[in-house]
């Protein structure tokens, strides 16, 4: 069976990597602190760095997991594979569309930023995704049928 975490990956290579990596991380941190003397700026940076990790692990990932679990039960087994694939792709498409959909560039007064109607644009992108996934599923089915 599978082996649990071992110390095999913590040999000399790891310690050398650790020394180099910590030095590079330190350089990055110094770059930020040197350019940002204000406490508020430093606090904001640390909050964002650690917050990104915490929000992903405690909010984003569990929410996606629960949503996927519920959806998986709503879809028949024979359709789950293509639907699963389509949902993954749709998910990242919607994620990337969120800021344009929210019109985050509106206050700038520059109509060449986010120039489209992003509801139409996002729906068009999703339609293209599902057309692709549908084609893939159909080709798979046809191949399966012809080979059996």
């Amino acid at each position: 069976m599978r082996v649990p975490v071992s110390d095999a990956e913590h040999g000399p290579r790891f310690w050398v990597g650790l020394a180099v990596g910590v030095a590079v991380m330190g350089w990055g941190l110094w770059l930020f602190l040197d350019a940002t003397p204000r406490f508020a700026g430093r606090r904001s940076f640390v909050l964002w760095l650690v917050g990104a990790d915490v929000l992903h692990d405690l909010v984003f990932a569990p929410l996606v997991a629960v949503a996927a679990w519920l959806l998986a039960r709503a879809v028949p087994d024979r359709w789950w594979a293509p639907v699963h694939a389509g949902l993954v792709i749709s998910g990242v498409v919607v994620l990337l569309a969120l800021l344009p959909l929210a019109g985050t560039a509106d206050p700038v007064g520059n109509p060449t930023i986010q120039p489209l109607d992003y509801r139409t644009a996002t729906l068009t992108a999703l339609a293209l995704v599902w057309a692709g996934v549908g084609t893939w599923a159909l080709v798979g089915r046809l191949r399966q049928r012809s080979s059996s």
Binding site: H10, L96, A125
Partner: protein, 394 residues
């Protein structure tokens, strides 16, 4: 190594998908490692161009190099979004491993995951946010994004050092045409898994398709043939006054209505023998040249246009500048952001470096820098100074 059910405490969630395994983690890790390295290298290059040390020299040629650099940086970052999400999902059960560490080395290794994961998410979120003018934090985007890139690369070195062996084993086994030892493909499905799920190939293929879809829906902001598919990009290269986008508007610097009666272009400084003060008509009467050059924004969009105007080197020659002169280009406005830019001697003497008066045979509109703007090969958009008032030659 693999997550096993017995290393989980009772309170931890049960993960029933067989996709949570070392082989998926390895392949996605390799892809992410490549993506983040490409982003890092192109990002450092871009940073140095905007803030060069004395040792750094950015050439005037090839004319489209900066455009490719930024297109690569932004597109690779976008492509990394699904890779990172899926990778974190594949290894998510490890978060609940118990005990959390069995050795000092393992404790240190897992601790380094905080800057790695937090920093990677940070880079992608702030990067996508920045191009969408969403910056809800209290530091400079450029400083934060650049510093975090170094932090992530450092954490990545630690991670790669820790995961080298397991990743190498997976790749080596596949290259030999075998299933890796810890692979689930040969193993029976995990208990509780629903039937009809994606195979490994389809799972990784889906991730690649997700990355491909995001690339397809954004790359048209810099790659003109795909512009009609740029559905999720914050810019369209064909959308804006005179047919292309604007970064800094004339309104934001109060230059919507420059009076040509008052306008003078000055060529001054220690480097010239006879300082010039030229009216718009003087400029228009000088020999006009045409150059097809990209406007390439640090934010990843770019567009080729046909520019017409006076060669900077002709202006310098007329002012009696020494050969090899360098110049600072100064705009009409007082806003410290993008008020000046530097022309190296290579840039200043390049035959395609123009003080453009027209674009695509039309007089520039205010948003594109009327009365005159700088346009030169291989320069970031923020250095293509608009509303030029002065060349300070040295």
């Amino acid at each position: 190594m693999s997550t096993t059910v017995d290393s989980h405490p009772r309170w931890a969630p049960r993960f029933t998908s067989r996709q949570h395994d070392d082989e998926n983690a390895a392949w996605l890790g390799i892809a992410l490692g490549v993506a983040f390295t490409v982003c890092f290298v192109t990002g450092v290059v871009s940073h140095l161009i905007q803030d060069p040390g004395s040792w750094f020299h950015w050439p005037a040629r090839p004319a489209g190099l900066y455009r490719v650099n930024q297109g690569l940086h932004v597109t690779t970052g976008v492509v990394a979004v699904p890779l990172l999400i899926v990778k974190l999902w594949v290894v998510f059960p490890k978060l609940f491993e118990w005990p959390p560490f069995r050795s000092v080395a393992q404790a240190v290794e897992r601790l380094a995951l905080v800057p790695l994961v937090g920093g990677a998410v940070f880079l992608l979120v702030t990067g996508v946010g920045n191009v969408n003018i969403w910056r809800p934090y209290d530091f400079s985007f450029r400083t934060g994004h650049y510093a975090a890139a170094w932090i992530v690369m450092g954490a990545l070195v630690v991670h790669v050092a820790a995961k080298w062996a397991v990743t190498r084993d997976v790749v080596a086994a596949r290259l030999r045409g075998q299933s890796p030892p810890a692979s689930t493909e040969a193993a029976p499905a995990v208990e509780g898994e629903r039937p009809g799920g994606l195979s490994r190939r389809a799972f990784l293929g889906t991730t690649a398709a997700a990355s491909g879809a995001l690339a397809l829906f954004t790359v048209g902001q810099t790659f003109a043939p795909l512009r009609s598919l740029a559905l999720l990009a914050p810019r369209r290269p064909d959308s804006g006054p005179q047919g292309f986008p604007v970064n800094r508007t004339a309104e934001s610097v109060g230059l919507t209505d420059v009076d040509l009666a008052d306008y003078r272009l000055e060529v001054v400084g220690d480097g010239v023998a006879t300082p010039l003060s030229l009216t718009y008509d003087d400029l228009a009467a000088m020999p006009q040249h045409e150059a097809t050059l990209p406007i390439a924004c640090v934010e990843g969009w770019s567009t080729n246009q046909r520019w017409q105007g006076v060669r900077v080197r002709d202006l310098l020659e007329r002012a009696g500048a020494r050969s090899g002169a360098e110049a600072t280009v100064v705009a009409l406005h007082d806003n410290p952001r993008q008020r000046t830019s530097e022309l190296s001697s290579g840039q200043a003497s390049d035959p395609d470096t123009l003080l453009a008066l027209r674009v695509n045979d039309e007089v520039l509109v205010a948003d594109h820098g009327f009365p005159a703007r700088l346009i030169g090969p291989n320069r970031p958009g923020v250095h293509q100074t608009k509303w030029v008032a002065r060349l300070e030659v040295r």
